[in-house]
């Protein structure tokens, strides 16, 4: 099977400082890849390369067999990559509805997005006119996840979905992720806390100091995990 998205020997960094060294990984349709590792390892940086926000200094970003290394993020987004960045993937000063309207930039009509959002997350429907920044953390993350659900992406990139959320909500969110994956979407999740992510992942990788040091089945990764975190 050809990967939907592949990184090939990526080196990348910010200004002068190199962060990623020779990172290669592949995402397959319907599969979830969990990227784990301690703080500052370069996970978010890897994700930024995938979404086109960071141009690598060398190496290739290959999407559906085509090299897209220098494509800008908005074009990639329109081509079907849905990225929910670290922190909140919402516009805090816009209303919930405006946020939903923004999602339609990907080409899906607003009505459809609204329908999915309000059906899936009923508490959002009563808050359509509320400023998104005043929603609770969980509600904000649900709003962000609506994009993954409603815009019919081919590839989904999620950075620290669970940050600051209660386990119950995290569980709910990951259920949704699994469901999206079953629709044939290739998914990359970046996580600090490995347990939940490993439960749903098909493949997992550990990132340490900008290198992908271990990659494999979740079970085998779980064993090596302690070592990676504690050095």
């Amino acid at each position: 099977m050809t990967p939907l998205l592949a990184l090939h020997k990526i080196n990348a960094g910010y200004a002068e400082i190199p962060v990623l060294h020779d990172v290669s990984l592949s995402l397959y349709p319907g599969k979830i890849y969990a990227l784990l590792g301690p703080n500052g390892g370069g996970k978010s940086t890897t994700l930024k390369v995938c979404s086109g926000q960071l141009t690598p200094t060398s190496g290739d970003l290959i999407i559906a067999g085509k090299s897209m290394t220098k494509t800008d993020p908005s074009a990639l987004a329109r081509a079907g990559i849905c990225t929910i960045p670290e922190g909140k993937g919402i516009f805090p000063n816009l209303t919930v509805r405006d946020n939903l309207i923004m999602m339609s930039k990907s080409g899906i009509p607003t009505e459809h997005i609204e329908e999915v959002a309000y059906q899936r997350f009923t508490q959002l429907s009563s808050r359509a006119r509320q400023t998104a920044g005043t929603l609770s953390g969980g509600e904000q993350q649900m709003l962000a996840m609506t994009r993954a659900l409603a815009t019919d992406p081919a590839i989904l990139l999620l950075d620290e979905l669970s940050m600051g959320l209660a386990p119950l909500i995290v569980g709910q969110l990951y259920e949704i992720v699994q469901q999206v994956a079953s629709g044939g979407v290739a998914i990359l999740i970046v996580e600090q806390f490995a347990r939940t992510a490993l439960e749903i992942a098909d493949t997992a990788g550990i990132m340490l100091n900008g290198r992908l040091v271990n990659e494999g089945r979740p079970e085998s990764i779980q064993k090596g995990l302690k070592h990676a975190y504690l050095g």
Binding site: S51, Q53, D72, P73, S74, A77, R78, C82, T83, I84, P85, G89, I90, F91, P92, N93, L94, D98, I101, M102, M103, S104, K105, S106, G107, T110, R147
Partner: protein, 822 residues
């Protein structure tokens, strides 16, 4: 009743224009986060353009109204907006509030420059209202012109259309989303740049509409008047807190109506002419009040560290060395340059002293002040009133005033330096005594005798800066909770107020200080007859009035003294508090710092410096007028150039002052002279001359986006390399060569041009050579890590270098064991 209606109609019409203009401001602000100071200037430019196409009897002229309108509003204005976004505003991401403010100011000055350039001459340009002056209809006895009707209709239509666009269309929602999080817009598949261009185009169209509509209501087109008129709309925009369009519209109407009613009421009041003068400043007064009354945003923590500006603190040693260098440079120059150049340089240095107040206030403390020259002007007026005393009628009043001011200054500022309770009491008392002695013993206290004095005294300068300090404190007191843009606008309002109400003041004001003298201790004619003649200082037997070179050196010494003091201040605990306040007011509040006192003290201190500099500047010029040199425009230009120079450094102030006072004039002169000499290329050189004179400062400001930390620091950084030991030879030879060239000039072997042509290249070659030299040495020195211990020893320096390379935290244990081994 009919009269009431007439004034209501007039008020509604102007108010509607303010509404349109301010709505444009709100659109660009909510969609780009930039407060477009150039908004008024764009409107002004469009009005001129429309006049050119529609009414000029030469080129253009007599285009049919719809075509001219369509061209101005739908072709020229959007292009201006898009170009602005593409060339200028796009580079502002991640810069500080100061930079975000200065660049639009630069753009505003550029538009003023361009308009002055294209539409030169004193020719009266009178645009006519739509459908002519006599097209009107009436309600009862009240006539309403078609122009007024159109204005109101246009305003209503625009209000509804804008609201719809921003909140109900995808384009509008995207424009607002871009301010929130441009990266996320991209991740959503939107194009932030395109969206920003759309909003700048819309903002610019709104400005153009306002400009075209308002111009026939004035007597004739005036560059500054039109620009300022749209500034009136700022109040409306603030009324809507820069985001609420309906409130903004109401604000515009309220301002228009208030001005109109004020006209109506004060028309009869011949008793206080300045009251009717207030009508021109009323919107500004409203702006000030609205700023003060509106609930402020909570303290925001700036994103420390993510800003592109970074300022280092120079060491005291190097600041003193540079001071000596500057004073000797200036002294050396004074021997070889003509007195015209001396005058220009002196002007630059006095301006630089005023600039130092901005370094303290904006550079160190992060408080924006757009009224530096208003404070300087107040200082000059105070010095005049005190020293020449044409209007001060009784002495004791002034002596008392001076001591009161000294007491106030001490109480406000000294605690900030860590003086409390007994120490504070002692310090303030000492300070009061000092000022009292200065005033009483050196100047006497009675009569109008001062009027006959022909020189500025030291006490004059001191009292001038004390008075300015008290004004500064008075302005800062209400504005103390304002920050960033809001504070900038409040000070801007203050500057306009000073421009229109103080410099134009012809009344004699009298005050009574209780328990002192008779009932009129102080009667002041603030700005008598539109010009104040302020004498040069004269002490220690030196008459600075006769010797321009003495004035030049004196001023350079003063600049250096204040600079060194400021750098010392920056290093003190007071300075660290200021920096903390600048970086994160929220964090400071949680640390329990008393920010009010800190702010008040720094404002007071900065105003004192500005007042001092202003008095010196005026005394150097000998005379100041109501429109020179302390106007709001000059103030903005100086502020801008100081930021360009690097507002975090005293060298930035030096750069700003010198460039402001000399560079553009010199360049203009240079091209002008070439134009004279080379008649056939006259057009080219005249073009270049106008170019530098009118656009130079603005372009320098716009260039700031590329290097937000300022150019002065860059230049200094370039010379830093010369401090290395290995470059001593280069410095020695270079300095000798320059000294030699200077000597040849002194003994008149050749003229000034040759001196400049020989010494400047040497000066700028020195750092280049130094860099090459150092690089060369480093290459030779460069040995690989493996050779450690063989080619060279395990020095601590080397070990920490390796640690850093491998990102290992330095391990003290290891070092210890190594020491034990030895």
């Amino acid at each position: 009743m009919a009269e009431f209606l007439t004034f209501t109609v007039v008020g509604l019409a102007t108010g509607a224009i303010y509404s349109i203009a301010s709505a444009g401001l709100v659109v660009t602000y909510t969609t780009s986060g930039i407060f477009n100071f150039a908004h008024g200037a764009i409107g002004m430019f469009s009005a001129f353009l429309y006049w050119q196409l529609r009414w000029d009897e030469g080129w253009g002229g007599f285009w049919p109204a719809p075509i001219a309108l369509a061209f101005v509003l739908f072709i020229a204005a959007p292009i201006i907006g898009i170009l602005l976004q593409l060339i200028v505003m796009r580079g502002l991401e991640g810069t500080s509030e100061t930079t975000k403010l200065v660049i639009p100011i630069a753009v505003m000055l550029a538009f003023i420059g361009i308009t002055n350039w294209v539409w030169q001459g004193a020719e009266q340009r009178i645009p006519k209202p739509f459908f002519g002056r006599n097209a009107k209809w009436s309600i009862g006895d009240t006539y309403i012109t078609w122009h007024q009707t159109i204005i109101v209709i246009v305003a209503i239509v625009l209000a509804i259309a804008l609201r719809f666009l921003l909140f109900n269309t995808k384009i509008g929602v995207t424009m607002r989303a871009v301010v929130d999080n441009p990266e996320l817009v991209e991740l959503n598949g939107g194009r932030p740049n395109r969206s920003a261009m759309q909003s700048w185009a819309i903002g610019s169209i709104m400005a153009a509409i306002a400009g075209v509509l308002i111009s026939p209501l004035l007597g004739g087109l005036g560059v500054l008047a039109l620009t300022l008129l749209v500034v009136n709309a700022y109040a409306a925009a603030i009324f809507g807190r820069l985001k609420n369009l309906p409130l903004t519209f109401i604000g515009g109407l309220v301002i228009g109506l208030s001005v109109s009613y004020w006209n109506w009421i004060s028309r009869t009041g011949q008793k206080w002419p300045w009251l009717s003068e207030l009508r021109t400043t009323l919107p500004i007064v409203i702006l000030f009040c609205v700023l003060l009354l509106l609930p402020q945003d909570r303290l925001r923590g700036n994103r420390a560290g993510s800003l592109r500006e970074q300022f280092r603190v120079p060491s005291i040693r190097s600041s003193i060395l540079w001071s000596f260098a500057l004073v000797s440079l200036v002294s050396g120059l004074s021997l070889i340059i003509t007195s015209k150049w001396e005058a220009l340089l002196t002007r630059g240095l006095t301006m630089a002293i005023i600039g130092l107040s901005m370094v303290l206030l904006t550079g160190y403390a992060g408080e924006l002040n757009l009224a530096p020259l208003a404070f300087a002007g107040i200082g000059a007026i105070a010095a005049f009133q005190f020293d020449v005393g044409s209007a001060v009628e009784t002495g004791p009043g002034f002596a008392t005033l001076a001591t009161l001011l000294a007491a106030g200054f001490g109480v406000l500022v000294f605690p900030a330096f860590g003086l409390f309770k007994r120490r504070l009491f002692v310090a303030v008392t000492a300070f009061i005594l000092l000022v009292f002695i200065l005033v009483v013993f050196f100047d006497g206290t009675t009569g109008t005798g001062i009027a006959s004095r022909e020189s500025m005294s030291l006490s004059g300068l001191v009292v001038a800066s004390l008075i300015t300090a008290s004004v500064g404190a008075t302005v800062a007191l209400p504005a103390i909770r304002l920050r960033g843009l809001y504070l900038a606008l409040a000070t801007f309002a203050f500057a306009i107020f000073v421009d229109k109400m103080v410099y134009k003041q012809r009344e004699t004001l009298t005050f009574d200080i209780p328990f002192v003298g008779d009932s009129e201790d102080l009667s002041i004619n603030l700005f008598n007859n539109g010009a104040l003649n302020i004498p040069r200082p004269k002490f220690w037997g030196i008459d600075f009035g006769e010797k321009q070179w003495a004035m030049l050196i004196f001023v350079s010494i003063i600049f250096c003294c204040i600079s060194v003091a400021l750098i010392q201040l920056r290093k003190s605990s007071y300075g660290r508090q200021l920096t903390a306040m600048k970086d994160s007011p929220a964090a400071c509040a949680t640390l329990g710092m008393n920010m009010r006192r800190l702010k008040l003290s720094v404002f007071t201190l900065a105003a004192a410096i500005a007042g001092f500099g202003g008095a010196l500047h005026a005394s150097n010029l000998r005379t100041i007028q109501e429109d020179y040199p302390f106007t709001i425009w000059e103030g903005l230009a100086l502020f801008m150039l100081t930021v360009v120079g690097g507002i975090g450094y005293v060298s930035g102030a030096l750069f700003g002052g010198i460039i402001y006072a000399c560079a553009f004039i010199v360049m203009g002169d240079f091209w002008g002279k070439l134009a004279e000499d080379w008649g056939s290329f006259d057009w080219l050189f005249t073009f270049l001359q106008d170019f530098f004179l009118l656009l130079g400062p603005a372009l320098a400001g716009i260039g700031l986006g590329r290097n937000p930390s300022g150019v002065a620091s860059q230049i200094f950084d370039g010379f830093r390399i010369l401090r290395k030991k290995e470059n001593n030879g280069i410095v020695g030879v270079g300095s000798l060569l320059i000294a030699f060239s200077w000597f040849l000039r002194v003994i008149d072997v050749y003229n000034g041009w040759v001196f400049i042509m020989t010494s400047l290249p040497i000066l700028f070659l020195m750092p280049l050579l130094g860099e090459a030299n150092t690089r060369d040495r480093d290459r030779r020195k460069d040995t690989s890590i493996e050779m450690a211990g063989i080619d060279f020893g395990f020095t601590d320096e080397f070990i920490s270098f390796v640690d850093k390379e491998l990102s290992i935290p330095s391990d003290p244990m290891w070092k210890e064991s190594r020491i034990n081994d030895e």
